[in-house]
């Protein structure tokens, strides 16, 4: 799933038009999810027409599978996690510091005024003053950025394989940030991954293709995040759709081992005490 942020900065009234225009453009290419952050939504203050009061999560279902929902305890990331298995795009409105390409809506903007800011913030895609500023370049730019993937989205993808009829097994591996190797270790705060752009993606794609050639292996998905990955977060996924469990397990193990050996990715570890490149230890 490709994620686009939209932030308001002096564009009151224009933001909704920009969101509508973006969603309209994206919807021509695939299913779109929208996450709106609104700090005024708080327990008891957000007016919702649901007849039920008191449930922690409420789904109101209608004809043809239409629905609305309200609930408590959901972060922006939780919302993206729910969208990702079934949406090709997510538009996130009103969230600061999103680690994905972001449009800033400013009715007064001029290209010159924001040139310096764009250099300083590598997630800033463009500053727009009107919905007419949205063109195919925006869509192309969000497709080029690292997608949002989870174990669930990759599992959903292999289930869509044309050979899924032959599959009796899905095996997966999830690599995550380990705070400590030992009880006495200084806790890891985050890892930062650097990728050889282009070459890393080619190697991952050819590794997937090689693993898919094995007898009984029907589909393989590999995904590795880059940039900062915090303590406890997931880093890498290997998902294998296979006829039977034996080849599924073997292929998952070989897949993660070869990814770690062959794909040009570099890991810097930052603990509460120290910072180092992992290959130097």
């Amino acid at each position: 799933m490709h994620v686009l942020g939209i932030r308001n900065r002096g564009g009151d009234g224009t933001v909704d038009q920009v969101v509508d225009r973006v969603v309209d453009q994206l919807a021509q290419r695939g299913r779109v999810g929208v996450v709106r952050y609104d700090a005024t939504i708080a327990d008891g203050t957000h007016v919702h027409e649901s007849a039920t009061v008191g449930g922690d999560v409420t789904y109101d279902l209608g004809a043809d599978g239409d629905w609305t929902a309200t609930g408590t305890g959901m972060s922006v990331e939780d919302a993206l996690d729910r969208l990702v298995p079934e949406c090709r795009y997510a538009v996130v409105v009103g969230v600061e510091n999103l680690q994905y390409p972001t449009l800033v809506v400013d009715a007064e903007s001029s290209p010159d005024a924001t040139a310096g800011e764009e250099a300083a913030d590598d997630t800033l895609l463009a500053t727009v003053s009107s919905p007419h500023d949205i063109d195919d370049d925006v869509v192309d730019a969000i497709e080029e950025a690292e997608p949002y993937e989870t174990l669930e989205s990759l599992v959903a993808r292999v289930k869509q394989s044309p050979s899924a009829d032959l599959a009796g097994a899905i095996a997966t591996f999830t690599g995550r940030v380990r705070a400590k190797d030992d009880e006495d270790d200084a806790p890891t705060q985050y890892l930062e991954f650097e990728k050889y752009e282009g070459v890393a993606d080619e190697r991952m794609a050819s590794l997937e293709a090689e693993l898919e050639e094995r007898d009984g292996v029907l589909a393989v998905e590999l995904f590795h995040r880059t940039g900062v990955v915090e303590d406890g977060e997931d880093i890498v996924f290997v998902v294998v759709l296979a006829g039977h469990r034996t080849e599924a397990f073997r292929t998952v193990e070989d897949g993660i081992n070869r990814l770690k050996d062959e794909v040009p990715l570099f890991k810097k570890e930052v603990t509460v005490e120290d910072e180092f490149w992992v290959h130097e230890r």
């Binding site: 690599g175 991954f193 650097e194 050889y196 282009g198 070459v199 080619e202 590795h224 880093i235 890498v236 993660i256 990814l259 770690k260 050996d261 062959e262 794909v263 040009p264 990715l265 570099f266 890991k267 810097k268 490149w277 992992v278 290959h279 130097e280």
Partner: protein, 93 residues
């Protein structure tokens, strides 16, 4: 024509830059391009060389292919517009 080096992880830190353009071009060798890269970058040279030879853990790629494994090592001849990469052992996952 010139040739671009891409550097990764601590090698980029030792070089002070992630991208370095050198004069070596088609007909020259990867070794020529490496010599130009290391010239004036003693920290990087110390990191990647041992007794004048490339340390065994350092990888050199030309257009995504490892020249030390699949080509003629530092004798590999450059083509037009080649992209070279220098990096330590990979450490994904």
């Amino acid at each position: 024509m010139s040739t671009e080096w891409k550097l990764f992880a601590d090698l980029a830190e030792h070089a002070g830059d992630r991208h370095v353009t050198v004069e070596a071009s088609a007909g020259d060798t990867v070794g020529d391009a490496l010599e130009q890269l290391l010239d004036g970058r003693p920290e990087l040279a110390e990191r990647v060389l041992e007794d004048g030879e490339l340390r065994s853990q350092v990888n050199v790629l030309r257009n995504g292919t490892n020249v030390l494994v699949e080509e003629d090592g530092l004798e590999t001849e450059l083509g037009d517009g080649d992209e070279l990469a220098l990096f330590p052992p990979v450490s994904g996952g």
